[in-house]
Amino acid sequence: MTLPIRIKGFTTEVLSWKPWLDTVDVDTATPAQLAALDAMSPQARTSPYFLVLAHQPEILLQRSIAFNAIMFAPGGMPRAERELGATVESRVNGCVYCASVHAQRFEQLAKRNDVISQVFEAPASAGTTPREKAIVAFSVRLGAEPDKVSAEDIRALKQAGLAELEILDLIHSVALFAWANRLMLNLGEPVFPAAAS
């Protein structure tokens, strides 16, 4: 067990999240609300975040299908790299909670966290290999300046060895976290372990 990273307000510690709106009560939830929660994950029924989103079950259901397809579909970009794209987007948007969750998933999948320290410190230059640097640089650009992304950026990814399906997976992952970060940042706030206990 390595010590958690703590850099510039970002961390790989396990955080909790406190909603600013009332959550749906599982005991009185509609079948559509329960189906949307279960489509997300087995833990969603006990997550304040998903219980807030369950106020709009059809929207949550579609988002859950998209989320799982983007982050877990077989083939294409290795899952650790999808988590890296998600972590970079979360770092750029300042979403401490999402950055923590997806940095931990990267670490579990890749068995290392060197690039996470770099992303937390200075995302623009992060990456331990040319391939990783290309992935991070593209994630920063698509996250911060989507209107500026061009064929040149795609060529840089191909030169670093990414296949087209891997590039599509990266675009999906970064775009998905543009979505997720905005929900996490605007419907509640992260709670750090010391404050929670």
């Binding site: 059809e58 579609q62 698509l142 996250g143 992304v149 087209e164 599509l168 775009a175 543009a178 979505w179």
Partner: protein, 170 residues
């Protein structure tokens, strides 16, 4: 059953992508993402969602796309607003970034611009301002999901446009 082999959805139309392009076919390798993206779009603008009219939601979308310089998606929402019979003066005001007369719409658009451009500034007071303007918790969730989804849609379209441009140049 829809035949997925030749359908052009909202994302395809915005990029634009046609079924004879390699990038269109590449996108279909992740068919669950394609259908859930379109399914999300349909859910975001469903008349079944209460508390925010479809026109209000389309104005939010137009504002989000204008702020993000996503021209083709902005055109899509402008067309939908016209088809919905929305007030052309209001569409024009949102299009050009002018303030709108309606106080509730002004609050909603201000929240949209902030969440699109500076999501880190989201705070409890902003959510409270929506509640104070008469929005219920489900309506606030619908609106937050909509704005967050637009951030996704804008980046997905931008990424696919770059892929298609690289395909054309290859």
């Amino acid at each position: 059953m829809t035949n997925i082999s030749n359908v052009v959805d909202v994302i395809d139309a915005a990029v634009p992508l046609a079924p004879d392009q390699a990038t269109w076919a590449l996108r279909r390798q992740r068919d669950k993402v394609v259908s859930a993206t379109q399914g999300s779009y349909d859910a975001m603008f469903s008349p079944a969602v209460e508390g925010l009219s479809v026109t209000e939601r389309l104005l939010v979308a137009l504002h989000a796309c204008c702020v993000s310089k996503a021209d083709s998606l902005a055109a899509h929402y402008r067309d939908r607003l016209a088809a919905e019979g929305a007030d052309s003066g209001v569409i024009e005001a949102v299009d050009s970034g002018e303030p709108v007369a309606d106080a509730r719409l002004r609050t909603v658009l201000a929240f949209t611009g902030k969440l699109i451009e500076r999501p880190i500034e989201g705070d409890r007071a902003a959510v409270q301002s929506l509640a104070d303007s008469g929005l219920s918790a489900p309506a606030i969730v619908a609106m937050s999901q909509l704005i967050a989804f637009l951030s996704y849609q804008i980046r997905l379209a931008a990424g696919l446009k770059a892929l298609a441009a690289a395909e054309a140049a290859a």
